[in-house]
Symmetry: C2
Subunit: 505 residues, 2 copies
């Protein structure tokens, strides 16, 4: 038996255990009776440990080495599934072997404790309550990064952190992209909000019975180019999308009886994630190559369907009759222009997850810059609230009244996830470039959307992005899709249009 | 580290993978988008293979041997968790090592193919379509039984088959019990139906909107002594109950808009299974000792709650106001006596799953006797339909019009499950004995049920049956509960009362 075949069999086995873990995680957040939480945590920990042990086994390393010397193993990225598997999994294996199990376990324990502390700290708006836990997380994360001393391609602490979420993207590249974004965004936000940003007319606020919302959202998701019978949609507290297989996509959304925008746009967002996972080449299905490559690429797909498609005039106009039919009190008298404006208001706000498309990336920039200061300039964590507030003043012109509305708002750092935030903005940047390229290839995208043709865009994305799974990096995908190098210009152009709409309101 | 501790850790790990497989199976039958079926089959196969490999490893055998010689390992059943673990898992390991993986895989493949063939054969009522697949299943099952030549306690082919579902019960013991049952039942059925068995008055037949049924069933299950937040109920095609952990029980039922009895009594049946799994000693939770001991014991719990509790006059009378409130057209004018009679009609019928409590065990007897003829008297499978029909004539006085209403009605044999059927009747026998003993210990059980006190019975069952998990055999449990040896008398007495009710109608 060739080493590559034996390797693939082993990886497929481990990947199948990963599918089981994914279902357990989905169930935990949508279906599980509350009393099952403790047993579920044990089962998930067991699955993670078993998978880790199976993957980091010496024998897997030997198979990778042998497979590397078999014919065809050096084909360039995207040319041969086997060669891609060896290249990508070889790197995974080298990485996985660097971090001692005890450190991983300690990080999991510490962040679990910190997340619990965070809930209370946020409730009381008391940063001091979180501080010792945050310090522990940062210390452990530093030790984690040190495990990668001398790892190929890593030249600084943050490289190892970013690589967990955005493999093979350097800190420098990310910093350059986000700096370009900042340069364009700060004046844009000022301009879009100079005529005020009051509550304005908002038909998405009102009375929306959950059952009617559910039916609307199901209908809207049903128009997307999913293969038949391959997805489901459930309510949850914090919406997410997962797939157990390319043929088994689990979407979730959250219903707010006073606000229709939450369920509608978050469902389109999660559906974008789901379409990505659904579009992976079936040949990669049972192997780890079918996993998504990077959070940035993943987020590009959710943002594209949420912001470029669902907040566009043609999409909204096409769905106005549906909105009117289900919610006549709210949408009976609304015209398409007003609907588009309502879906695209620009308001400087303190809370990231409530922010609009134009201001959103400034929230991310602030977090990314602070992460760099913590890990590379030794910013004392006691100074973190102050540093946070100063940046909100500088970039958004807002005073942070308390830490609950400031540094305590997100769970990520309590959860030990440093290096995660910038991938959100990277996703927006990539979405802008892909949207531009799809428009070039397919012709008038807004006209297609107005006609209800979402299949063409879906097919383009599947062909250019989804089908590769982990085989290609975001920059390789952008290049092959004719987008050139990573650039913020298409995103900025898109946001300028949004800002102009807001300024005209 | 003591061998028993190391062994327990390993078994806990394997058991956790089993929990994951259980959730995958539940999801497959309640939630999974249909397109996910193929990937799910792969994932379940992988989990089964990985668990089997982990369990049958030489190292596990060495640990069992070492643990057997550690202090306390020879404590009698029920005295020490560790000793029970070594005894029971040691036997599992010996059994698991006897059957080659290839044979297991071949059996799984063959029965999967046969089940598909069965669907069409049943639809066309064409036994010949199933025949070659059945022959293959029987041949593989014979090879399976041969793997146990000389296994301690096995003295005939059927012993190995029965042991898969009812460990350590001999064919002889089962045959004796079921022969006693037949002797009592055949005249009882004749007597109960001698005044005719026409459709009669049936308030459970009518118009019952699914949503109202769902609410009713949830309320009724909510009265059962489950720990709070530890169960859920979902619709499915073929009702079942599973638990992911003692704190995470998944019940299912099926709604028929024309018949309320289906959802109501099947939900009580599945809840009985669920209460059993929920009542296992939490200390056994993460180990394989928390699995149920035998199908017979499991079925005793579902039957007890379905038949002894929910079909009793006090339970029905107590819920009559609820039935009247939700379904006034059907139950508005029904009195408790009529309700009890309607829930306990005796009708000789051709289909096992539609049969009543009194005739049910005759259906099982027929299948058990035919299984013995197939495996121990070489009954040619071509003669199976004729042998089937002859027994329906003898025991139930019915002519079988075609094989769809005869030998093709159940999936079990197509699925390769020989030795399974008799456990259904064993469950009824055990339920009769436990009910009698609980009545002795708790006093007037019907009065408790009339008062809505289900907790006392629940607690008694948890204490006497559930908490032991796999630690004790059914006969050990019966003995400790003061029931003496296995005997059909309490069940027959119960069925005589049912039959008298029917005869008086």
């Amino acid at each position: 038996m060739a080493a590559i075949d034996e390797l693939r069999d082993r990886l497929t086995e481990i990947h199948d255990l990963g599918r089981a873990a994914t279902l357990l995680a989905w169930d935990e957040r949508t279906m599980m009776p509350p009393a099952g939480a403790e047993a579920r945590a044990e089962t998930l920990a067991t699955l993670a440990r078993v998978r880790h042990e199976m993957f980091t086994a010496d024998e897997v390393g030997r198979l990778i080495d042998r497979a590397r010397s078999e014919p065809g193993a050096d084909a360039p990225p995207g040319e041969s599934i086997d060669a891609d598997l060896i290249r990508i999994i070889g790197r995974d294996w080298d990485k996985a072997r660097r971090v001692p199990s005890e450190l991983r376990a300690e990080m999991a324990r510490a962040s679990s404790i910190a997340e619990n502390a965070w809930v209370e700290a946020k409730e009381r708006s008391d940063f001091a309550m979180l501080l010792p836990h945050l310090e522990r997380n940062v210390e452990l994360t530093r030790r984690f990064a040190e495990c990668y001393d001398g790892f190929p391609g890593f030249s600084r602490t943050y490289d190892a952190l970013l690589d967990e979420y955005e493999p093979q993207m350097s800190t420098e590249e990310m910093r350059d992209v986000l700096a370009d974004l900042r340069e364009g965004l700060v004046p844009l936000v000022a301009e879009a909000t100079e005529n005020g940003e009051g509550p304005g007319f908002d038909p998405f606020t009102g009375e929306f019975p959950v059952e009617s919302q559910r039916e609307l959202v199901k209908q809207v998701i049903g128009e997307l180019p999913f293969p038949e019978g391959s997805w489901r949609l459930d309510p949850t507290e914090h919406p997410f999308a997962l797939s157990i297989a390319t043929t088994d996509v689990r979407l979730t959304t959250r219903y707010n009886e006073r606000n229709l925008a939450m369920a509608l746009f978050s469902a389109m967002h999660e559906a974008g994630h789901g379409l990505y996972e659904s579009g992976v080449d079936p040949e990669l299905g049972p192997t780890p190559l079918s996993d998504p490559r990077s959070l940035g690429l993943h987020e590009s797909q959710s943002r594209l369907w949420e912001n470029w498609v669902a907040r566009s005039r043609p999409w909204l106009e096409r769905h106005l009759p549906l909105l009117r039919e289900r919610f006549p009190d709210s949408f009976g008298d609304v015209d398409p222009v007003a609907l588009e404006r309502a879906a695209n208001r620009v308001v400087r706000s303190l809370i990231r997850i409530e922010s609009d498309e134009v201001t959103y990336n400034l929230h991310i920039l602030i977090r990314f810059e602070l992460e760099l200061e913590i890990f590379e300039e030794d910013l004392p964590l006691t100074d973190l609230p102050e540093a946070w507030n100063a940046r909100y003043r500088d970039y958004l012109g807002l005073e942070v009244p308390d830490d609950a509305h400031g540094v305590l708002q997100d769970v990520h750092w309590a959860g030990g996830a440093f290096g995660y935030f910038p991938t959100y903005s990277l996703g927006n940047v990539i979405a802008g470039q892909l949207w531009e390229a799809a428009g070039r290839d397919l012709g008038d995208l807004p006209a297609r959307i107005a006609d209800g043709d979402l299949a063409s865009l879906g097919e383009w994305l599947r062909e250019r992005v989804h089908r590769y799974g982990r085989r290609l990096s975001p920059s390789e995908i952008l290049e092959r899709a004719g987008c050139g190098e990573l650039t913020v210009e298409p995103l900025l152009q898109h946001l300028r249009e949004r800002a102009a709409l807001a300024a005209a309101a």
